[in-house]
Structures are given as C-alpha cells and as structure tokens.
Amino acid sequence: MDRPEGSREKGDRLNMSDIDVMLDDNAPVVPLIDEAAPAKVRVRKRGRVTKWLAISWMVFITVSSIGAESLPYINHSCDQFASIGECTTATHANIRLAERPPAWAGFSDSPQKGEPARFGLMGTDKNGFDLFARSLLGARTSLIIAGLAITFGLAIGTLLGMIAGYFRGWVDVVIENLTNVLLSFPALLLAIFFVTFFNDPSTAAATTRPLWPVVVSLVILSIPPLTRLVRANTIAYAQRDFVVAARSLGAKGSRVLFREILPNIVPTLLSFALTGLALLIVAEGALAFLGLSVEAPVPTWGRMIATGAGPLREGSWWISLMPAFMMFLTVLAINLLGDVLAQRFNTREAIS
C-alpha cells in the first residue's frame, strides 16, 4: 500500500489508497496542514486605534477636569487669565488679553507692544480667560451633571423596567403609559420645563443656582428610554428556560429579578448607558446654551459656546468653537466606547 508523502497537493483527487489509509487504524496520521505554514492567524479587529484614542481622550478629560486646580499644563494665574476657584471677575490684566486667538492660528490683530498676539492652545475669551483652562472646567460640570443623571436614570429606569417586564399586568400598563407620555414630549422642551419648574423663583434671582434641578430634569429625560430597554430585555429573559428553572427551584421574584435576569441585562445596559451619557452631555450643553444650567461663573461648555456667539460674527471664531470642539470630541469618544462595549458583549453572546 503506497502512502502519500506529506500533505496532498491542492486539487489532488482522493484516490483509493487515501481511503485505505483512512480505514487503516494503524496508518500514520498524515497532517493535512503543512506544519511549516504559520499556525497563528492574525485576526484584524475593527477600530482598535479609535478605541484607544477614545479611551485616552476620556482619561485625559476626566483627569484634567478633576485635577484642574493643580495640573501643570493648565493655566492657573488668577490675575491674568484664570477663572479657577475664586477668580471670577476679570481683572485689568485679563482685559488686556481679551479675545486672543490660539497660538497656532496663523494671523494676528496687530496687538499693542509688549502683549502677545496669540495665546495658548485655545486662545482667550472676551474676558481674557484662558479657553483651554475654562474648557476643562466646563468638562467637569458637564461630566458631573451627565454622570449623575445617567446613574440615577439607570437605577430608576432599570428598576421600573424590570418590574414592568417581569410582573406585567397592571404595573406594566401604568409604567408603559408613563414612559409613552414622557417619550412623546420633545425632550429639550421637557427639560426646560423641569428646570424652570424646579428652580424656585425666589432663589433663581440669587447668585447660586443649585445643580440638582438640571440633574433631576436630565434624569427624567433618561428614564423612559432606559425603562423601555430594560423592560424589553426582561420580558425576553423572563421566558428563558433558566429563569423558569430558577423558579421551579423555588426562587423568589426578587431573587429571579436581581440574580438571574439583571446580570444578563447589564452588558446591554452598559453600552446603552454610554450612549445615554453622550446624549445627556449634549442635552446639558443645550440647557446651558439657553442659560438654564448651573449659574455663572461656573463654566459650562454650553454657556461658553453661547457667550462666543457674539464675537463669532466679528471674526473671533475660537471662543465658541474651542469648547464646542471639546464637547464634540468627548461625545464622540463616549459613543465610540459604547460601540466597543456593545461589540465586546456581542462576541460573548455568540460564544455561549
């Protein structure tokens, strides 16, 4: 019996001796794949670079906004450019540097002698404040408000959605109709309504407007879609065999909900929550643009964009554009991370 040497060439027809080899238990195993060929297969993954860019941006923005007071690359000098901490009013020195374009911008306004024509990474606003430093402080406001809102929104939305989806019946009807009503309002209008509603008119005129009306209104905005998502997922999982199995072993409703169903929903929920976070940052920006977010002097992207709208017409484009750019990058990064998470969890679903 002649045995084929090495691997068969591509296109070789299977002849009788091959079959004999296959049937013969004692025949040596002929490797079908040439061992010299590379065993490792390089799998190209989509968006690896963008993923790391997004992560780096989020790390940068988070760290900078937390440590804005002490980080070396942020301008702190109060009497010159900053608005950090108690520096709220523009000093004379500030004014002299008002509306300077970013250092990389290729034009100058023929400034007076001894004064820089351009300033910093992002230029200055009409008060002479460093836009880079202010943008990072704006990030702090935006991230805190949107982060708080999505956290509370997640907690409430998940609870409502799971109750509606698991117990069904009249609870489901009530919750469904509530979410439908909330969803059918224009989101921003609803937020504006709540912010003005929660802002006590007697204190609204005062200097400090609290953070929580904005947060609460954004929480209310985020609850309906999250409730819907969780409800749909809960219904799907409640009919799975493992949930029936848990019940058949005598597990209580709360146990089934939090131990069996919730862990299965969390992946979907997390990737959706990131998208929600991005949306809420934009929503907060819109509120701030309309002057409905936190009170000045606390910087927010929305108000920075709003104050830059006037100078924009006079050619000082950077005052609006720089914070808008920061917001754009942040929202983009969060959305990309949401995609990454969604993809990651999808793979896992495919394995099991």
Binding site: D241, V244, A245, A246, S248, L249, G250, P263, N264, S352
Partner: protein, 361 residues
C-alpha cells in the same frame, strides 16, 4: 458528610402524587386552548412514569401544570393534584415555592438555555442549598461537589468555577440534573431531558436519571415524544393525545399489548433497523388536533387508519383492558375484530401500492 439529602418521609397512605381530572386551559384571542383536558393518573414513590405524545399534545403543559409553574394570567386550572396527601392546586405562590426544589423539581429540554449564562455553575447549584436547606458556604460547596460527582462530571472542582458556555451539552444537562437533585426532591419532572442531546449522550443521561431515582427513592415523570426513550427507563407509560390521556399501562404491557391505534402508530413510526434502505417511513398522516376546536368524537379519529363512524360521533371513555392497570380510550382497540378487518385491507392496499411502485421504477 452525607450529601444525599434523603427525601422527607412524611408519606401518608396512598400514592405519592395523585392527579385527578386535571384541566389546564389558556385563554387566547383565538379561543380557549384546552392544552390539558381532564387527565388523571397516580404515581407511587420511587416509580418512573413516562408521558409520551407528539408536539402539542399537552405533555409539557401537564408537567408544568402539576408543579404550578404556569403563569397565572389567562390560565384556567381545575381538577385536583394531591401530593403526599395534600391538595396542591390553589396553593399560594409562597406555599408552592416551598414545594418547588425541595419536593418537586424539573429538568428542561435544552441545557443550552436552562443554565444562567452569566452565573458560575457552582453558584447555581449552591444557591438552592443555601436558601432551602440553610447550608453555609462550605457545606453547600462540599454538597455541590458531591452532586457533580454523583452526576459523573469529571473534575468537579474545576467545573464549580466555570460558566455554562464552557461545558458541553451533555455536561450542561448533568449540571442541570445536579441542580434539580440538589435539595432532594421526591418527584423529578424531566421534560424531554435528552431531546437536545447527541444520541450517545442521551443514553448516558437517561441512565443517570434512572440511577439517581433508585439511589434516592425518588419518583420520576419523564416527558418525551420518543417511545424509545421511555421504553427502558420507566415503569409505566401514559400516552397523551390532544390534551387527553389516551392509553396508560405498565411499560411492558403497553409494548406487548397496546390497545390504542395512536400508540401503535407512534411505535410504527420508529424506523426499523432491519428494513431495507429507502423503506418509506411510517408517518402519522395529518397534524395534531387544534386544541381550540378539538374533534367532536375521538380526538385521534381524523388521523386514525381504522376510523369508524362511531369514532367521529362519540368520544370514547377510558376503558380498562385485561389488566386493571391498563386503560385506553378507543372504541375499536388494536386486536378487536373491526381493527383486524381494517388492518387486513390496509396491508393489502399497501402491498399492491408497493408492487406498482416497483413496476414504475
């Protein structure tokens, strides 16, 4: 320590489980679906009952209905289920929960979906032990190990920390059995436990269930569509059709002396290995009855080869055969003169059809 939690022995007189005229109807927009329509049987401790029927015959609903696992909305349940001398229909959810796991538990058809994908196997086993039996972490873990060992899972220690997707189908079903057995139930419902498994694994799983039944003196209700599965692993077989019990007998008697043409048709539809290749499979013509509008007479009459006018007009009651433990619902059972006459005609027709086929070929 002994992990085998012995079934509680507050056995009163009479059978362990007695189901009388159990009806389970679902209200749907199309009408009332009579999934289980008056089923009665009883089950002794330590015995295995097979419930056989096609898809849609109500066998799964029957087992879930006995346990009380069906959703309450749009479900009508009547009749009586007496378990250990106690009526369990109409119990509150709280009381039913006390029965689930400890007294009755269930194995499901598809082990791929009956384990929680995001919970470690060990945790899924120990949860019930901790809650129902009040074990501490260490005891529960040791018991889980014993259970995994009992269901013949290699390297049980490693498995405790694995997830369902890391196990093969057969192993998952073994884990499922371990979970179902964990709290020492007296009745185990196995709802098509081998349907989703490889044929070689099927036999092992059935063997395992049988072995655990003997070890634990537990009763088993084996629900399946495969007569081959119940043949070697049950003491008694109940055949269901269209939500009703149409024949019930000890396994041996049923196979040797079946009365109901439906049972016969089921058995004939199993291909015979000695037949020449390309033999036509014997199928049961038609479809299972619509449970909203079941046929007026015998529910099998539209598909029965031996159908007579009486079958269409009148529903047959459950009759007792030569042995008291053999009941069937048929006007002209297998072996009756009418049956024999019809059978002879059919065989003749089939033979000539076969001849013409050969001629044409």
């Amino acid at each position: 320590m002994n992990s085998r939690v012995q079934a509680t022995s507050r056995q009163t007189d009479g059978p362990l489980l007695k189901v009388t005229d159990l009806k389970t109807h679902f209200r749907t927009e199309r009408g009332l679906v009579r999934s289980v329509d008056g089923v009665s049987f009883s089950l002794e401790r330590g015995r295995a009952l097979g419930i056989v029927g096609e898809s849609g015959s109500g066998k799964t609903v029957l087992s879930r209905s006995i346990m009380g696992l069906l959703p309450g909305r749009n479900t009508e349940r009547s009749g009586s289920v007496v378990f250990e001398g106690e009526e369990i229909i109409g119990l509150s959810l709280k009381d039913r929960r006390k029965i689930w796991g400890r007294e009755m538990s269930m194995i499901f058809q598809d082990p791929m979906t009956s384990l929680n994908p995001v919970m470690r196997v060990g945790k899924q086993i120990t949860e019930g032990l901790k809650i129902h039996l009040g074990m501490d972490n260490e005891n529960a873990r040791a018991t889980a190990l014993r259970l995994l060992h009992d269901v013949r899972i290699p390297e049980p220690e490693k498995r405790l920390n694995q997830y369902a997707f890391e196990l093969s189908g057969g192993m998952r079903q073994r884990v499922m059995i371990a979970i179902a057995l964990a709290c020492g139930p007296t009745v185990l419902f196995a709802d098509e436990p081998t349907t989703a498994l490889d044929v070689t694994v099927q036999a092992q799983i059935l063997e395992l269930i049988g072995e655990q039944r003997r070890d634990r003196n537990m009763s088993v209700i084996l629900v399946t569509h495969d007569l081959g599965v119940v043949a070697g692993h049950t003491d008694e077989i109940a055949v269901m059709y269209g939500g009703k019990l149409v024949e019930k007998a000890p396994t041996r008697t049923l196979f040797a002396n079946m009365k109901m043409p439906y049972t016969e048709a089921l058995l004939r539809s199993i291909p015979n290995i000695e037949d020449p290749s390309h033999t036509r499979l014997n199928v049961i013509a038609g479809r299972p009855p619509d449970l909203v509008n079941p046929p007026k007479g015998c529910r099998f009459s539209p598909r029965c080869e031996y159908v007579q006018p009486k079958c269409i007009a009148e529903e047959p009651p459950l009759l007792t055969a030569e042995h008291a433990d053999h009941v069937y619902a048929c006007w002209y059972p297998v072996g009756s003169p009418v049956y024999r006459e019809k059978r002879a005609q059919l065989d003749k027709a089939k033979k000539s059809a076969g001849m013409s086929q050969v001629g044409a070929g």
